[in-house]
Symmetry: C3
Subunit: 165 residues, 3 copies
């Protein structure tokens, strides 16, 4: 290979690493931003029309649509008088150009008095997109792990999507 080819190949590999870490950063920022009401950062993790497709919010049975609604959700969560932590575990990630998929577990924990309770543990598959040079969530599918085939399939699909081939 010529030096120019070597440099081009290195640039591609470094870009892939940067993208993977940017997606880790996005996933790791979700909890701290909604738990603290960090607006507008919470909303900027999503595309303008991003869809948080979740089965857990009694107040939003069809999930949460759009960046403004995510910001409103962060403001609502941060008003909680109990301690609350939306824990997002390290994901598996596959980047393909300006698109990426991530899969992980998440679990909100709630402090009530001296007890900390895990409210639920859920499967997550994230469809991410780079827009204006910044990774954002277009679709996050989140299902309570309750033994249902649907909740397991979210993980299984995410594993198939991200597995190194």
């Amino acid at each position: 290979m010529s030096i120019e080819d070597d440099i081009a190949a290195l640039k591609g590999r470094v870009q892939q690493l940067e993208d993977t870490l940017a997606i880790f950063q996005l996933v790791a920022t979700y909890g701290p931003s909604v738990d603290s009401g960090a607006v507008p950062e919470a909303g900027l993790l999503w595309t303008e029309d991003g869809y948080y497709d979740t089965d857990i919010q009694a107040s939003a049975p069809q999930g949460t649509h759009g960046r403004d609604a995510i910001n409103a959700m962060a403001e609502m969560i941060a008003r909680s008088e109990n301690g609350i932590a939306h824990v997002t575990y390290m994901p598996a990630v596959k980047v393909d150009g300006d698109r990426a998929i991530a899969v992980n577990h998440t679990s909100p924990c709630v402090a009530v008095g001296d007890d900390v309770r895990i409210a639920r543990i859920s499967s997550n598959r994230w469809e991410l997109e780079r827009i204006d040079g910044r990774w954002q969530t277009r679709l996050r599918t989140n299902r309570v792990l309750d033994g249902s085939a649907e909740s397991k399939e979210v993980l299984a699909q995410g594993v198939r999507d991200t597995f190194p081939r």
Copy 2:
């Protein structure tokens, strides 16, 4: 340094970063693959003769030997009628050529009715190997953190093995 030397050094550093992220990916895929019965992906995280040396499976008191047994374990876990999540926390990792060590905590969480219970929290030390260009687990030592010296030594050895020197 010459340009050729610069490029060779960069290639080595990028390879090291790629290897570390590949091992993160492997550890992060363990839970989602066994919880969802994602076969063959669950098994491919291990070498063909990989050994999951664990003290937690009543059904396998000597741990789980070999990729086929890992796949059978994933199929068994995924049949659970309760929600179950094998959470693997971000590891510390040290790569040395085609071998690597990782250390972390893991905890399976089980949903029973409206409650989520942490079944146990364990110490883990992973011995990994690159075979055919893909990182795989040769040995994972997993001990319930119950106050015993043995369970702590798994973490202590992993910390010594992975600490930057």
Copy 3:
């Protein structure tokens, strides 16, 4: 750009990636080192005068000052007869030369008999510094997430500090 410029730019990007992963490693090593009494590794995660500013230690109401005190804390934790795991979740990180900020949740889990209890869940903002080529913690602010504005502000400040701009 000239080849020399290309190589200089790549070196900078690779350095940034290495620094981010070094900080992941530091955060991931905290728990396994204190839970197992891995001295001196536990202490080396901090600057010599590092300050663990925490509201959780009855034995140290003003937090823990200095590397020697961190080592003493690790020795004390590792003497626990119950299983104990100081879980540190994947952080969001921003590196700026020889300084960095990280933000994450942490939660110590304690095994008592057949039960594992989350002792608390806390907000954390880490101020890190590279000294003698090794990342170390100068200040870690840790507050129990109990609904208080102060505990949320630790996360909010960390999110603002680390958000990609």
